[in-house]
């Protein structure tokens, strides 16, 4: 063991490498890696044509379309408003700013089921917001718009929290230099501030998107859950499970997982590439 450990790591006087890494790897394998590989092994055992038939039937396709489409819209909304909120919180002074700043993390702390029933009550036809929107012809609860709204709630902190520290660290000299060289405020924001925020924006967007795609608790109450219409992919997995259709649930879950992993990987690479390019200049 010690020979192996020496080959794998640099020597150090600090003890406990073997035991802590051992516990880490054991826990990781038992809790995360073995269960996740069980999913893929089960999917692999389905057989190619069975897998395609269950994973890509029309109901499943509609569910992926809704989960990924609505998550994209929600993440874009959060990208815009999240940047705005981060800007306001970092740059301006106003009463209640600290409370607002603390409140940003509410979607992390509030259980999703609670958020789900609260949003549904607000936007139901007789709810506080729903009763105002309904006469205008805007239906939120039990429609796709409701799904998007719940996803906006759940993804709200990500962009704010990834942009905020970068904005705080941004040196004022750069903006001042741009201004003294004759750039207008909008030019400065677009050409100087925005490019330095870009990596943070991308990662905030990606995290909000990934969270919204997999989200279940806050959505199912407000969605209405009509097959093919307002049925999200995670719900379809649960429905298949309740019908004891393990193969179907597994097929849909593995499609979702693969798409999420590929997306995160691409975004991760993109960010690395950008960062190394920025540092190279």
């Amino acid at each position: 063991m010690s020979v192996l450990a020496h080959r794998l790591r640099e020597p150090s006087v600090i003890p406990g490498f073997g035991i802590t890494l051992g516990v880490t790897l054991t826990a990781l394998s038992l809790v995360v890696l073995i269960p996740l590989s069980a999913l893929f092994l089960k999917a692999a055992g389905l057989g190619f044509s069975d897998f395609i038939a269950t994973a890509f039937d029309s109901r499943a396709m509609a569910a992926y379309g809704l989960s990924f489409g609505a998550a994209l819209v929600a993440a874009l909304v959060n990208l815009f408003f999240g940047t705005l909120v981060a800007w306001v919180l970092v740059r301006y002074r106003f009463a209640g700013k600290r409370i607002l700043d603390a409140l940003i993390d509410l979607p992390f702390a509030l259980p999703t089921a609670v958020a789900g029933i609260a949003l549904t009550t607000l936007f139901a036809p007789n709810g506080a917001f729903g009763s105002v929107l309904e006469p205008l012809g805007i239906k939120v609860a039990f429609t796709r718009l409701g799904v998007i709204l719940a996803m906006i709630f759940i993804g709200l902190p990500f962009v704010v929290r990834s942009v905020q520290p970068v904005l705080e660290d941004l040196e004022s000299e750069v903006e001042e230099a741009a201004a003294s060289l004759g750039a207008s405020r909008l030019q400065t924001l677009w050409l100087v501030v925005l490019p330095s925020l870009l990596p943070a924006l991308i990662s905030g967007f990606a995290l909000a998107f990934a969270r919204a795609v997999g989200e279940y608790g806050s959505i199912i109450f407000i969605a209405g859950n009509m097959p093919g219409q307002t049925e999200i992919a995670p719900l379809l997995i649960i429905i298949k499970l309740e019908q004891y259709n393990y193969a179907g649930a597994t097929a849909i879950a593995s499609v979702m997982l693969i798409i999420s992993f590929v997306l995160l990987f691409v975004i991760n690479r993109l960010q690395h590439w950008r960062q190394s390019r920025m540092e190279g200049r």
């Binding site: 600090i14 809790v31 999913l39 408003f81 306001v88 259980p111 089921a113 609670v114």
Partner: protein
């Protein structure tokens, strides 16, 4: 903050941006939070407390507390081991290890529950073996605990690793040279240095453990009084149109969320310097 004219927008623009930010946060964060308490107390305190005092509600509270009491310490031990191995040693495959630890973040909660059904459910890999020996994991408390550990797995490690990496290993090395044992080193140097980051991680881990819905929903079986956690109980009550009771239980979870946010903000304000690396990670 430098309030230089070249870094500041006109008063009107500033006011408008603050207003937009306040409206956005009020709509998506403030309104749902207020709704939870308003709906719970809509029929008066007597009905509120009666709803909370029901045997099923109390059983749900108890199960949620038990689940968190197991999941949080397990993840605490794992987090400490992982951060010790990763922060105090250089070894090959470190970044892969960190990616794998983060994996549960990008897995849908529903899929997190599904993998345990595939392993331990009646049709699962170990299902027949477990059934033969009369062990029930799925649709029972152990399954709920397992799914919760999976979902909250990265929380504490994720806070500790960047913090301990930032603090380096000089202090530990010095103590070891002076003859301290590995344990003394850990208890008297590493742990005190990391205590606020540790608390931060425990706080977030606990909030998620108590509030998890999707993953737990898949493995619980929803047996009232036996395998219902608080978030699941909220769902059942809501679906039975017992809105006051649903929101009454929801107030407990919302209160937990608020306490978490307050404690988290206090930690961030008091120990900003110690936690800086965490916020930036």
């Amino acid at each position: 903050m430098t309030s230089n004219s070249s870094r500041n927008e006109p008063l009107l623009v500033r006011g408008l941006l603050i207003l937009v930010a306040l409206t956005y946060l009020g709509l998506f964060l403030g309104a749902p939070l207020v709704t939870v308490f308003a709906e719970a107390w809509a029929k008066g305190p007597e009905i509120y407390f009666k709803a909370l005092g029901q045997a099923d509600s109390l059983a749900a509270v108890r199960l949620t507390l038990i689940t968190a009491a197991i999941a949080v310490p397990v993840n605490l031990v794992f987090g400490l081991c992982a951060s010790w191995a990763i922060a105090k040693f250089e070894f090959r495959g470190k970044s892969l290890l960190m990616t794998l630890i983060d994996l549960p973040f990008s897995v849908s909660p529903v899929i997190s529950g599904l993998v345990f059904v595939l392993l331990f459910g009646l049709q699962g890999w170990f299902g027949p073996f477990l059934a033969e020996h009369g062990i029930k994991l799925i649709f029972a408390v152990p399954g709920i605990v397992l799914a919760t550990i999976f979902v909250t797995f990265p929380f504490i490690a994720r806070e500790l690793i960047p913090l301990m990496q930032e603090q380096g290993r000089e202090e530990e090395e010095a103590a070891l040279m002076l003859g301290a044992s590995g344990w003394q080193c850990f208890w008297h140097i590493t742990l005190p240095n990391a205590k606020w980051g540790l608390m931060y991680g425990v706080l977030l881990c606990n909030a998620r453990a108590m509030g998890e819905f999707g993953a737990v929903s898949v493995v619980s079986g929803h047996i009232r009084g036996l395998t219902n956690t608080m978030p699941l109980h909220v769902e059942i009550l809501y679906n039975e149109y017992n809105f006051v009771a649903a929101f009454a239980v929801a107030t407990l979870l919302a209160a937990l969320a608020l306490v978490t946010l307050v404690a988290k903000s206090l930690l961030e304000w008091r120990y900003a310097a110690e936690l800086n690396s965490v916020k930036r990670a």
